[in-house]
Amino acid sequence: MNQKDFFSCPACGAEVRFQTSVTVTSVCTYCASVLVRRDIDIESIGKVAQLLGDVSPIQIGTRGSFEKTHFDIAGRAVYSWSEGFWSEWFAKFDDGRSGWLVEAQGFFGMCFERHWETKKTYLSLGQKVSIEGHGSFEVSDIKKNSCVFVEGELPFVPALKTPRTSVDLRGPDSKFATVEQDSIQLFVGAWVPFDNFNFHHLRELDGW
């Protein structure tokens, strides 16, 4: 099922892999060029600088479980907004699903892209939205942000340093949802305590 495609990085010649059938972007581990797969060829869309002060315990290759299914972390996208950074780790599940492990202000959550019926793009703060199968959500935040860093493999082509608007919604229990206004996408998930993920192959942290 998985295609193992090997390429040579156009910038430094190092070996570049696309490990899953859904990934279209892979960041060269040697020169940090962001490489996009287009048919039989790969193209560089830029380079990313090292992420300074990164204290995330997650790394590419971390394995965890969510609702009894295991996943491997294959990639990462870091977004910057007026109040700091957050990470969205690309989680490839054993059953073939793609999920996003969100790391924001020390909290971790798992979300999945959902089909969005009401393609209502312009939501306002405090507005109530009903998401089928999940309940009633309330808009808690509208953030202007942009992708500033990527690593590993991703199932989309990142628009580096390009502003976009994300709408955060708070749902029943610990559920949350995010609406990406520019790409018209809906993600629904839940915040989960770190221990519940049962992570393996976490990053080593100096002094911890």
Binding site: V55, P57, G84
Partner: protein, 439 residues
Amino acid sequence: MAGNEESLLKKDAQPLKPLILSCPNCQGAVTLLAGNKSLVAVCSSCGSTLDTADQVVKVIDKNKKSRPIEQTLEIGMKGKFHGHTWQIIGFMVRRDKSSHFKWREYLLFNPRHGFRFLTEAEGHWNWVVQLHVEVVDSRTDAQAMGKTYQVFHRGTAIVDYVAGEFYWRVKVGDTAKVADFINPPEVLSKEVTDGEKVWAIGEYMDVKTVENAFDPPVSLRIAEGVAPNQPSLLQNDMSKIWTAFFLGMAVLVATQFFTAMTSKKQRVAEIEGSFTNGTGQPALEQVSEPFELKGGRSAAEIALYATVDNDWFSGVGTLTNVKTGETFEVETGVEYYWGTAGGEPWSEGDNRSTTTLYSIPEGTYRFSFQPNGSGNHVPKTFRVALIWDVTLWANFWYGVIAVALLPLIAGWRRQAHELKRWSESDYAPAWAKGMEDEE
């Protein structure tokens, strides 16, 4: 099958180290313990508050304030709480705008588990975490996670002092509208800054727990007063107290029931006679035939009846042990008065009385009765009986009072504690307001 784990792992993964920046004001080293998760850091050399979110570090407040003496935990200290290690990375002092009441907040960080707060006010500590669950709040309460929290405080909080680093933008002078809702030992806090609402849940933490979380343990001040979400007094002991009460009552009732059922209440002797006061002759002492008092030591009763009519009558009853000569004597009497006052009949007393003789050993006895006084000169007839092995009630009632004192005193202490709690709030429920008005 998922991709080969080894090939997905970053080959040159380095253990992460904290980020060190240069203060634009004094060029001193500023260490960010939470790396790029911190947005603001206070330079420990010059006290400037710096914005560290961007590549370019900016000074957002040069105002250096002196370290408050109430700061008891240091930036950088590591302690163990709820099974994990946490490092203190930030500290702030906040003040209520109207009452000027001050409290302290310590920001703790663990790279895996995120951020927590330890708040301290008047020596009371709370372990606080930001909430992501839905909270429905009204003028009087807040509902979350299936529980109801009562409103305790509403006000504006002002930042008076900052040190270390924070994961949100904060500086001295910042204000936020706050509301606290309690359900001891928890407190639900709402904070609104520029329209953005944040909820946090705090749990009361014992001073000793905070002290012993650090190695070596720290020494903290003694708590004063009752904190809003401090656990109710004797919370864990009440079930034990009630169990002791019901057990005690059960034992008392069972014992008394058994005693009452097994007491013989034997009428062993009876004396009849008549008495007239003022005849000038001493009254005769009448003596009964001998009788046996069996079954060990017990109590006896003298039951007296006399035909007193707006009059009184008294005499001395004596129990004499035929073999040992030991005597038990007691004064006994009756009085009965009646009449009408303003058309209403009244009466006082009775023409019957019982007097108890305690702890009489078994044996052969005679009972004697000597009348010794009366009110008027009308002759009265009397009948006095000695009843053996009667049920005593006094000890039973003393026992009931003693056992009832357990929940009574506990309940009184708990109530006093609750009144103290609500005395600090503008939202005290009706039953707790009485104290306020008196003060």
